[in-house]
Symmetry: C2
Subunit: 290 residues, 2 copies
């Protein structure tokens, strides 16, 4: 396992700055975000990571596949748009030779991430939303496979079920992945999202080589008012990383370990200091599996 | 199934006022809280519910069994105190002929409900905390059985795992209950806590007659800054009650359906209006199972 910087941890850094930062701090891999890649330019981003000799541990993110659950023409149009957007994300992941494209599958149909529920054009059909995800994957997995891209289904903490991901547990993501070849669809184990799950260790073992990405950060308590920003540096929250890392390793995962932190204080700090702290905490708390 | 008022929904009401309110609104059962019973007096509370002809659908709450996970003498003392407090709760439930004693099992050892993590005297050992709950249940279940009280294990939404309940899914609660006779230990299905769970319907069916209490309220989105108060009146949030009620009924549950809402606006409103709204929404959204 090797430590990687997910560029959202040092959010103010461009792709060029994140690549420089990784090299400066001796990291071998970087997780990129589509918005940042678009700002840098895709071709330039590819050139930067190749010349720096970095692996792209993930591209974040595809997904948001559930709006097709809205009735009628609105639903059909939203589903087609989601598929098209995801095909572009797959193309970009292929260009970047990213180890996977992280998929945040979307919440209840019509709910917008981080926004209050809309008064109309919203569906409470959670089971239906989950079916839409399976349908979209059936379209996207072969497309990804043809381009050598692995889709990595990310279960999100149930607090994000209304608006960001109706995939709420590792077991659920794993079950969904099994309909597709291992090289096309895998799962993400992100400690923030899964630390509480009583079936975690059983499902990590069951996932085995389906684990496409291992992401680490801590779960803060209490959460801040904007729950999206409840991710903390390892050691600042409630998670015991040791047994989780041990389980992921025992399942056969040998890829990069991304640190992905959404946190207003960390975003305000000097990115070089953040990366230095990240390296220290990773050695002390994530790698130290006894 | 019959609608019941959990008295925390009309928090400003004493036991006497809640009993009067239930009678006035034609409800047959009330869920009581230990604090309120203590204020009214246990004997007087028993007298009030009996004379009104009400069932006590639950007593809230026992639990907080995990502090025994702290090291050394602190842990031993905390464990003994938790057992003693729960024996008193069981005694009260027996006096009130409550259908069950709701158990909120407690969070990580040393974490206090709703408080920031303490700097010291805190444990991240989640698996160990879950073992302490099983150990405490082994002590308490026979004591409850001798007094005709059923302990109802309540899985709480994973957002409460750090500080309130290391029981996070219905399946986990059910598995824990199976070590004990059905009349001693059951589970709570509370829509707020379990609506997101991809295994919900499978586990409700598996629970069958272990379901000791069905509680309903909605899940608000976004949650308020104090996540404890994210419960809403049915219809105000993201939950589709129809399939859940149908599943609970199909599992064989024939008990009372408590509405339990922690919500600052609802607590500030006229309790009689809250109960009237509760009745209407219950008929429209919870009972209407198609």
């Amino acid at each position: 396992m090797s430590l990687a910087l997910n560029q959202w941890t040092t959010r103010r850094w461009s792709v060029a700055e994140a690549v420089d930062g990784c090299v400066r701090h001796g990291l071998e891999a970087v997780g990129l975000w589509r918005e940042k890649v678009a700002e840098q330019g895709l071709a330039q981003s590819v050139k930067l990571v190749r010349e720096a000799g970095l692996r792209v541990s993930s591209l974040c993110r595809g997904g948001f596949l559930t709006a097709g659950g809205l009735p009628g023409e609105d639903g059909r149009r939203a589903f087609a748009q989601a598929l098209e957007s995801n095909r572009r994300a797959i193309d970009e992941a292929a260009e970047l030779s990213a180890a996977c494209l992280v998929m945040v599958v979307g919440g209840l149909p019509g709910a917008q991430p981080g926004e209050p529920l809309p008064a109309a054009g919203f569906s409470r059909d959670l089971a239906g939303a989950r079916e839409r995800v399976a349908e979209a994957l059936a379209e996207l997995a072969p497309y990804a496979g043809e381009r050598g891209v692995k889709l990595a289904l990310e279960p999100l903490h149930p607090i994000y079920c209304p608006d960001r991901a109706v995939l709420s547990t590792l077991g659920q993501a794993l079950d969904l992945s099994l309909a597709h070849p291992e090289e096309q669809v895998g799962v993400v184990v992100d400690t923030f999202h899964v630390w509480w799950d009583p079936r975690l260790f059983e499902d990590v073992a069951r996932a085995g080589r389906r684990i496409a990405s291992y992401q680490v950060c801590d779960y803060l308590h209490p959460l801040p008012a904007d729950v999206l920003l409840g991710r903390g540096m390892m050691g600042d929250g409630v998670i015991d990383f040791t047994p989780i890392t041990r389980a992921v390793r025992a399942a056969g995962y040998t890829g990069d370990v991304e640190v992905e932190i959404f946190n207003a204080e960390i975003w305000a700090a000097d990115p070089d200091e953040v990366v230095a702290t990240m390296k220290t905490r990773y050695e002390e708390l994530v790698l130290a599996t006894g």
